[in-house]
Every structure is written in C-alpha cells, then in structure tokens.
Amino acid sequence: MTDKPAIELVGIDKKFGAVHANKDINLTVAKGTIHGIIGENGAGKSTLMSIIYGFYHADSGEIRVNGSPVAIRDSQAAIAAGIGMVHQHFMLVDNFTVLENIMLGAEGGMLLARGVASARAELKRLETEYGLEVDPDTLIEELPVGLQQRVEILKAMYRGAEILILDEPTGVLTPAEADHLFRILKVLRDQGKTIILITHKLREIMAITDTVSVMRRGEMVATRKTAETTVEELAELMVGRRVLLRVQKGEANPGAAVLSVRNLTVKDNRGVTMVDNVSFDVRAGEIVGIAGVAGNGQSELLEAIAGIRKPVSGEILLDGQTIDKADPAWLRELGLAHIPEDRHHMGLVLKFEEYENSVLGYHRRPGYSRGPLLDLEAIRKDAMEKIEKYDIRPPNPRLKTANFSGGNQQKIVVAREIERDPKMLIIGQPTRGVDIGAIEFIHRRIIEMRDAGKAILLVSVELDEIRALSDRILVMFAGHVVGEKTPDAGEQTLGLMMAGIAA
C-alpha cells in the first residue's frame, strides 16, 4: 500500500524584505515517519515550518496535506488540517495556568466553565497515554523549560494533531530530557502520527529520524534516508564544503587568577535566585567554559560579572580588586571586555550606523572624544581599520547595523571587544546564528587571545563548542556550579551533570 505523503511542499518561496528566507522549496514527508530537518542558523528552517503552520504566508508555492492541496491562511486552518507545532520560542502565556494555555483557542464554547471539565479529562488521557505529566493548575512562569515544552506538545495533541512539527526542541533540554522526548516521539510515530523535527545536532538526527532533509541559505539542498547517510556527509551538505569539526589549539599556559568569583548569588528580574552561591577562578592564559542547559543561571552569572546586574551577595574580584559597583563603563576601564549573548538587544544598537556600534561602551575613551564632543573622524577611521582586520562585509562604516548579516554583526561586536586589548574577556554564545566561516574565524581569535595571556570565560549552550575551546569546563545546573571537568570528559558525563544528576 502506497500511502499519500502527510505533507508535500511545492515551490515554497518566502522573502522578508531583502532576506530571501525560503527559495523554491520542495519537500515530501511520508506519513508515520519522523522527518528531520537540519541546517545552519538562519537557513530558513523555522520560516518554512511556520509557513506550514500558517504563521507566515508563503509568497508563492503550494502545501499539500495527505495528497490534497490546502490553503493554509492562518494557524486555524493548519490546526484544522491536523497540523500542530511546537515553536522554537514557546508560544505560551506566562501568567496563565497550564490548563488555560491548553484551552486557549480550543475552549469548547463561549463560556469557560463548560470547557474546563472536558479539558481536564482529555489532559488526563493524554498524560497516561504518552507519559506527558504536568500539573494543569500551575502557572507557566513557575515551570522549568522542559515542562513548558511538554505543555506545548500537549497543546498540539489536545487539538488532535496528526502532524507534529517540533522546532529545535532539544536546545533547552538536558541530554536525558531529550532522550525522554525522543521516546515520546517514537510512541507517537508508532501510533501513526507524522513528526517533523528541526535540529542542528547531527547526533540526534542519526538517533531518531527516519528521513533527513538539509537546508542551506534558504534552499533545500538534499533529502536522505537516515540509515543511508553519515554525519560527515550531512555536515558537508549543511555548510557546503568539508568542515573540520575540531578547533586547532595548543596547550594552555595558565598564570595567576585574573577573575575570582566568591559565593556569588544573583537574582533575576522576577526575584528568583538564578545564581546560587557560586565560586570559581579564571586565570590568565586559560579559557574556562561554562556548560549547561539554557536558563540555569549562566546568563545572570555573565551579567553580574559584566556589571549589568547587581548581585545579591558574594564578591567578584578582578586582578584582586573587588568589583563592588555594577557599572559596566568602569569595568571596561579596568580591562574587562564582554561579548554578550544577545547581540541584537545588547551588543549592538541595530538602528545605529556601524561606526557608532564600533565604539559602543568605549565612546568615552580619549581617542574617540574631545571634551564633550565625539571625534567622529577618529571613530570612523578606527571602525574602518576593524572592518578590514575582521573582514566585515560590506566594508562600509556608514551602513545601518541592521543591514549586516548575523555573522558580520557578531564580528562587529567581537572586533570592538577584542581590539581594546582587555585583560579579561567574558563571552556568551560567541557563535549563535553565525555561519561556519565566521565561526572558525571567531574561534581562532578567541584562542589567540588566550595564547596572548588573556583570561577568558566562555558560556555556550553548544556543548561541542565548549569542549572544543575550553581548557576547563564548569557545569551549571539550577544556579549551582555542579562540577568541573576537563574537555576530554565524555559527552555522557557532562550531559548527566547538566541534568543535575551527577557531579
């Protein structure tokens, strides 16, 4: 029996202004399979899935569900066609309960009272059937991300989804949680549901999918049976050339401690303790990596060290001097540079011209200003030098920063922070959303900094990146540093630590 494919995409094309996110995409997903989609950041995976889900509209192209073309005007239509989606950024209302979130859009009547009881019953059924336990009356904001994701899956199941799209579901999960998720997905598949799974972790693709498609720069470049391909082939398809999966670096030569963190406790904006009594050192000439699942306090830790967030208690010492003021400008004076996790909201002002961003945070420095005035000529000359040195394209300091691509934007930040020759560099997610060429370049610069005797603290949710760059690895879980390892520690070991299971 040849079943009709669950999903068929024909000639899907989508532009966001000047960005061509999807170029003439064709894709066939067979019913009852797990179909993986991989691709670098910005390849257009989420866009494509959002088009299937009716969140975006394709500029042209056709979507067929179970063989017949459907016009998916909005998510309502997608839901009606049996499509469910778990978004990369969760679509939950934080101050609603789990139940309210699940009912939203499927309330079962004008009044809530009637729907509530049946929703509870249905939830119970789903829970027992798939092992998706979650208390329906807790508020979303009180749930850990793993459970929030479960709510998203429940939402889709509650609406009777036959086709389930998961957009990078494991980015926020520990390896163990990811395994649990995969078990659920397999149960779903065995019951005849179709699953599209987006990820850029090749290991996961190999472990769970039946088929895999590769996207690159908006194009669908290949589709393979998982059993018939290899990690190396997929990597090459993804990037478009052969890649070295390891960074070249020599032995570290650590000196005296530059940064010392003592019993640091930090709370987030809601007053929740995110960093709990953490202590560690970073010495000159070494890279200390902080591994952990997103949301375990790494961001708050970085912000506290960078002076953006005031710690509740504890002490931070830079070169033996206590940093007791949360004042990033002053810390820069002391030689602390910071490449933030989020370049769009922190590292750059996207509306500014490139040269303005090339001095952001350093604009008060003597070379850049005269009295109260900025020395625009000096700033632009300086920006041009960095552009050349870092091969930032296009080489135009007067261009609006928003018009640079993600990798080049990241280079603007990296150039600015590294070129002031700091003694301490803290880095969050150095290569998020950056193409592979830029990744190699940025990694090289980081290693060079280390070899020049700088102290470097690196936070990344990409375990591979942490292992490739770090000389020592600290693992964070639930605000604590649960252990320290060397980079040759196995992925398994680190994964368990990230889940808070082993130390």
């Binding site: 009716g54 969140f55 975006y56 998510s75 309502q76 679509m91 934080d94 939203l104 499927a106 009044l111």
Partner: protein
Amino acid sequence: MDYYEIFISILASTIRLSIPLIFTALAGLFSERAGIFDIGLEGKMLGSAFAAACIAYLTDSAWLGLGAGIVCSVALSLVHGFASITNRGNQIVSGVAINFFIAGITIVLGQAWFGQGGRTPQLSPEARFAPIILPGADAAHDIPIIGPIYANVISGNNILTYLAFLAVPFSWWVLYRTRFGLRMRAVGENPGAVDTAGISVAWLRYRAVMCAGILCGFSGTYLAIAQSAAFIKDMSAGKGYIALAALVFAKWKPVPVMFACLLFGFLDALANFMQGKQVPLIGEVPVQVFQALPYILTCVLLAGFIGVAIPPKAGGVPYTKER
C-alpha cells in the same frame, strides 16, 4: 448640619463624580488588557459626550443620545485600532492625536451648529437621564443611619449610575469567565500564543477596543446628559487621564478599578466640599490644593506605594510577525 449629614452629602457626591471614571477606567481595562494602550480615553469620552448631547437635543430622547455617544466612541476606537492594530503605529501618539482632534472638532461643530461658544443647547428633561427614586426612599429618610444612605446615596441616581456599578462585576465575569476574556487576557500578554492557537490577533484586539469604545460611550453620555444638561467644551477635563491612573493603581483588575475610581471621585467631592472651609490647625486651604490633589495622589501612588504594577506584557507593542 451634623457630621453624618456631611458624610452622606460627600458620599453621594463621590458616587456622582466616580461614575464617568468607572466607565472610562473599565474601558481602559478592556483595551489595555488586550495590549492596546489607550491615552485617547479622554478624547473618546469627550467625543461621546458631544454626540450624546447633540442627538439627545435633536431627538429629545436620552436613549438615542446614549446610542449616539456609543457610536461616536466606538468609531474613535476603530480609528485608534486602525492606527495601532492594522498600521502598527505608536499607540500613545494615536491616542494623543484623537484627544486633540476631539478637543477641536467638538468646539468647531458645536459653535457652528449652535453658536453657544462650543456648548450645546440646554436639554429638556426628557432628553436626560433623570434620577430614579427607589421605592420607599422618602419614607426611609427618617430611619436613623441607613435611612439617609438609602434615600440620598443609593436612591436618586440615574440609570447610568446603576449601570456603572453593574458594569464592574460584568467586566470581571467577561474577563475571567468567558472565552473572549481568556483570549483577551492572553493577547495582552503574548499575542504570539494567541496567533498560533489559530485566533486572529487583530480581530481580537479590534473587539477589545470596541468594548472600550462602548464603555467610553457610557461615560461621555453620563457627563453630558445625566450629570449635566448639555455638552460643554472640554467637559471631560482630564477625567480620562485620571481613569487611566486609576487603572494602573488597580493593577488592571475590574473590582479594584471600581475602588480606585471611587477614591478619586471622593477626592474630587472633598475638594468641592472643603472649598472655603476652615481646616483645623491649618485654616483655609487654597482650593488649588484640592484641585491638584487627585493628580498629586496619582503620582504618589505611581511612585510605587502600591507595589509594582506590572502592566500587560505586550501592552503598547504593536504585534509584528515579520520585521
């Protein structure tokens, strides 16, 4: 006049002065809970007061006046919606624009049509909402303590007053017990969640601002044809802003909104009452102090003595999927 009578008098005055605030603040509640800031409450109130007065004057019917007030206010809401929902414009700017437009157009049209310096002609009794004397009010007068309250505070108000107090639990019920309310609260917190649940964000928000329009229509109508007997230029006199402050003060919840509005109404009543009177120890306090009091109090309250008031998270931010 004994203290109890003074108290009754101020209480009755408080109620009368709170009604437009309650309607307006509830209007703001619907709009802002759905994520649309509404500085234009002031203008909507003024516009509907004008429309209500004109139509009530022409038709000699208070109810038609109310209808006109609502239509006008809803129309303005739609303009605000068109700017801030469809065109993703700045919500504050749009609100400010509406306030200017209405402040001008009411006087321009009023003067052109009636020639009374922007006022509309005095209304006949049929064109107004008259006080309703509840059964037994006259008899109750002499019962100690509760008698005067029944006769002077509870009885003797017009229908809109009672509607305002009904609107409070009704709003609560809509917000927390209906599908529309659930979706509306959701869209003010995370429009993405609503969108991916297959609900149109724009239409939902349009419905919310229309609710705001309807409620504002009531408040304007109250001003023009229940509390007074004509439209007078600028008769909203900043009440829209006070209502907005009450909304913040009440942390965007219906029942607290009512109490906040009663508080501001009380301050106003007190200001009227205290005028020219001697305050023990201080002597005669200049009226300006009382006139400024609600505004000062608002600032004091906003300064955080009410705890942090967290507005709906998506408030003021136009919903854009595509950059």
